[in-house]
Amino acid sequence: MASKVSLKTKGKGGKGSKGSDEKSAAQCLKDWSTWAMKKAKVVTHYGFIPLVIVIGMNTEPKPQLYQLLSPV
């Protein structure tokens, strides 16, 4: 039992030291790219249709704002 406990703490201590080394460049890049993809997904989800509407409302001939809402 005592040996088991000591093995556990050794393992945890070993993992702790390895963990600080594991944050290598590849891991950082992967973390950042995942974060960027998540943000890009949220931005696209909420912003794509407003973007299309803004681009459309600024082309010539400029449509009026009420034309967006009225069914005619």
Partner: protein
């Protein structure tokens, strides 16, 4: 004047000889083959005739153009929707939703966005960077985590070939290439690699096209063999047939159909080897007003779907 006349006289005989080539097919000019259609549209004619978008229930589409390039669309769909079930019988749940869409269509840039009442967004972008290079993006985004999909395609069009590279989420990569080999025949191949499912595949395709008929064939190492043949009987009628065989799962489907394109309506019908008949009618009631009737009867599964709809604009 003297300098202008010689090019004129040389241009006319070349035109006459070009029409002689295309009409009489005496000699193919292998340096001037036509550009083939994109790889994903290989079965285009057969798909248009044999797989109309059948639906069940009511469908109402209203497209309002604000501009030459910009339009908004509103769509209401009410009807039973099938949910996948393990048992043999089909389970349908009545659903109703409203979809709002915004389209911006320019010669170089096309943006199409659709949003549904449950928060799903469907976005498509097509951007022609140059005459030959096109970037396309397609995304279906939902509020549920891990259920969103996105795909980017980079297309390069050469003089008589087309190539495409695609990347999607879940480490999905694909590439395809199609080349015109003679005036009528084009051959192509594709590879894909899906990282998340640890699958990869390779496939080959061939398409033979004349004025009167189109025959295509596609083989893939996922076990699919798909052949199709479309005959244009007249400019109003075309007949199509399709054969799909999966040699790994021993699944065979053959279908035969017709496509009548008349002045006021378009009627498509098909019958399947699975005991399923489909019919789809689009009737033009007035300028910009289309009435749609759709019927799909599956005798084997005893699943009957009838739908009607109206499209305005």
């Amino acid at each position: 004047m003297a300098g202008l006349v010689p090019p004129g006289t040389t241009a006319v005989p070349a035109d006459v000889s070009h029409t002689a080539h295309t009409k009489h097919d005496e000699k193919t000019d292998y340096m001037n083959l036509p550009c083939p259609i994109p790889y994903e549209e290989l079965h285009r004619e057969a798909l248009m005739s044999l797989k109309p978008e059948t639906f069940e229930g009511l469908r109402f589409d209203f497209t309002k153009g604000l501009n030459q390039k910009f339009s908004l669309s509103h769509s209401v769909v009410m009807g039973p929707t099938e949910i996948p079930s393990q048992s043999a019988e089909t389970i349908k749940i009545p659903t109703a939703h409203y979809e709002f869409g915004a389209n911006f269509i320019d010669p170089n840039l096309m943006l199409i966005g659709r949003v549904l009442t449950d928060g799903r967004v469907n976005a498509r972008v097509k951007w022609d960077l140059t005459d030959n290079l096109t970037v396309k993006a397609n995304a279906q985004l939902t509020n549920e985590p891990h259920m969103s999909h996105g795909m980017f395609n980079f297309d390069y069009k050469g003089k008589d070939f087309r190539s495409q590279f695609q990347m999607g989420n879940g480490a999905l990569f694909g590439a395809s290439y199609i080349q015109s080999v003679t005036q009528h025949l084009s051959l192509g191949g594709e590879v894909f690699w899906a990282g998340q499912h640890r699958k990869s595949g390779i496939g080959y395709a061939a398409r033979y096209e004349t004025d009167k008929m189109v025959a295509t064939g596609q083989v893939a190492n996922t076990g699919i063999v798909a052949l199709s043949y479309v005959q244009k009987v007249s400019d109003k009628v075309s007949l199509a047939s399709d054969f799909m065989y999966n040699y790994l799962s021993r699944d065979v489907t053959a279908s035969v159909g017709y496509d009548y394109i008349l002045r006021q309506c378009r009627l498509r019908g098909k019958i399947d080897s699975n005991g399923c008949t489909t019919s789809y009618l689009e009737e033009r009631l007035n300028m910009g007003l289309n009435f749609i009737l759709s019927a799909e009867i599956d005798h084997r599964k005893k699943d009957y779907k009838f739908g009607f709809g109206l499209t305005v604009g």
